[in-house]
Symmetry: C2
Amino acid sequence: MNHTSEPLLTIPRDFRFGENEADALELDCGRKLQDVNLRYECVGELAPDGGNAVLILHALSGDAHVCGRHTPEDRKPGWWDDMVGPGKPIDTNRYFVICSNVLGSCAGSTGPRSINPATGKRYNLDFPVITIRDMVRAQKRLIDHLGISRLLSVVGGSMGGMQALEWAICYPEMVQSAIPIATTAQLSPQSIAFDWVGREAIKYDPNWKNGDYEPDRVPDQGLATARMLAHITYLSDESMSRKFGRELQEHDEYGFDFQRDFAVESYLEHQGRRFVERFDANSYFYITRAMDYFDLAERADGNLARALAPAQADFLVVSFSSDWLFPTAQSRAIVHALLKNRLKVSFCEIESDYGHDAFLLETDTLGPMVSAFLRNQREGRK
Amino acid sequence: MNHTSEPLLTIPRDFRFGENEADALELDCGRKLQDVNLRYECVGELAPDGGNAVLILHALSGDAHVCGRHTPEDRKPGWWDDMVGPGKPIDTNRYFVICSNVLGSCAGSTGPRSINPATGKRYNLDFPVITIRDMVRAQKRLIDHLGISRLLSVVGGSMGGMQALEWAICYPEMVQSAIPIATTAQLSPQSIAFDWVGREAIKYDPNWKNGDYEPDRVPDQGLATARMLAHITYLSDESMSRKFGRELQEHDEYGFDFQRDFAVESYLEHQGRRFVERFDANSYFYITRAMDYFDLAERADGNLARALAPAQADFLVVSFSSDWLFPTAQSRAIVHALLKNRLKVSFCEIESDYGHDAFLLETDTLGPMVSAFLRNQREGRK
């Protein structure tokens, strides 16, 4: 077992399934996917009673590396290292934590840049359009493979929260509790619109070639533009004003040109550049589309409460006051629908000016809340 | 004089100035512009006392054609025809209305696609980077040319409101009243960020060629992407939900592809396509940059009240509740700064879910307010 004093090292693992057609993954689009790989990481130890497993679900650009380091030399830890690890709010001394890279992504799991076993070439846009539910179906295979029959909790922010909701509906008997954070039960037309414009920017990159780009000539300009746009929606006007204001980057006066002038422009450019180093344009297409298609209520003629009726889990729903991508009203809609089903629901809107990114940053507030909820789940039902 | 029963026909006119260096337009960047043309339209008649002139100031993509039609066959009238014309809130039976296309634009006035008299070629990115104040300096030449010594009012929404504020500060003795609508005294870092991403999309269009594009090979894909992005900021989440919701465009079910699926995607694509037919990519660069640089307070070490101190006008400031591009708080900041200068200020936040576009759409509410204010200005001081 790890202790807070030594560095936490984690090991990426691969789980392959669907080698034959009978075992293939059935998708919402009607197609089946064979030879699926899920990259995942586990931290902590599964309790003898099997009741301490926590599945963490990542957002658009996340990966399986939720906490710790792969080698002691790694400069940066996993994406939610403030929240997950020994002695952290999601305490890996107590819980067996699992996180897998979502289907369709590009950080080890099968996605559009994987080799299509039927052709021996990359899928690219031949990869089936997947949904959030498809991602969850693939994760279910992994959880079965790990011999876990019931999850203490499914936890995720943003797109991770969408997966948490799907888990609670699709496999209610397997989900003791769910913590959807900064998320929505239905992508709004405004978010669909932002996704559309981001994909347009990629589509018009001359390197794009309708998804058939060469590995050494990727549509990085389009992808950087899409990321910069999305990044604005992750921040808030307040946090941008506090962080950058109208500060100029290098000079005391306006440059009277179209180079980077303002600090916020440099910041965005940096974010765009960093993103293309680690993310794939085709995956960006597939994962944003999965979010566009996410609409729980639609399955029950627009009645969200009815759509959530199968769920049996206890819920902790969290939103952030300045999140305008998935504003508090959208979390409240989830809470109301859960309450109509007489489920146990805790809800908190955390005051924060970090915007949507708050789910990654407000760990001082979010941490104790999640920690107490999990402890209560584990001890209350032990 | 026009009557409401007959169609209002308007005539585009050109005003050239700055043929010699002494007469050239001095700009904030330190450069001088020779051979400037302003395209403008006038409606109504100047009163014998000269006291009924109303200058209307357009937004980013507007033009001089504020109302009426150029020919009886024109399918569409000018951009603010609901507000301006005989018997309309800005009543051309009472007021002499002037509207000119801003410097840097592409609808008749001198801009980056104009011929540089020094080279005989298009300016393109050799055109000087202009400011909102530069636009107003050019308009001042036109108003002088028209023999108007004092404007009853300067009226504009969005970037038009920025110009109205500049008019009140730069030429206080010429401005009896000002109506800045849905505007700000300072572009926020969030808006700077959106402008940046829009320009990045244009920059990465292979036709862009650093602004030296051929007239038959313009960067229309980049410009369309920039426009679609900007268009999202002109609407509100509420208005998009009401107008489109998650409606699908052509099919009953998801297409499971990356074609237009949602009505909001088709709408945006249509907006982008329409925009590139009438607007120039280089002008988009220059005008968005002028807005980025707009910061009245910065001239007085961050003190907006001090920056507005020269103004003598009466003000009607209007904002819209769902405008998240220039939210009400930014109008309130203007109002507070004006009140500190003991100016007469009326302020109204109009309840609307149209977002920023409300200044073009909420004429039923905005109209009577503007009409009464103008009438009071004209009759109170006649």
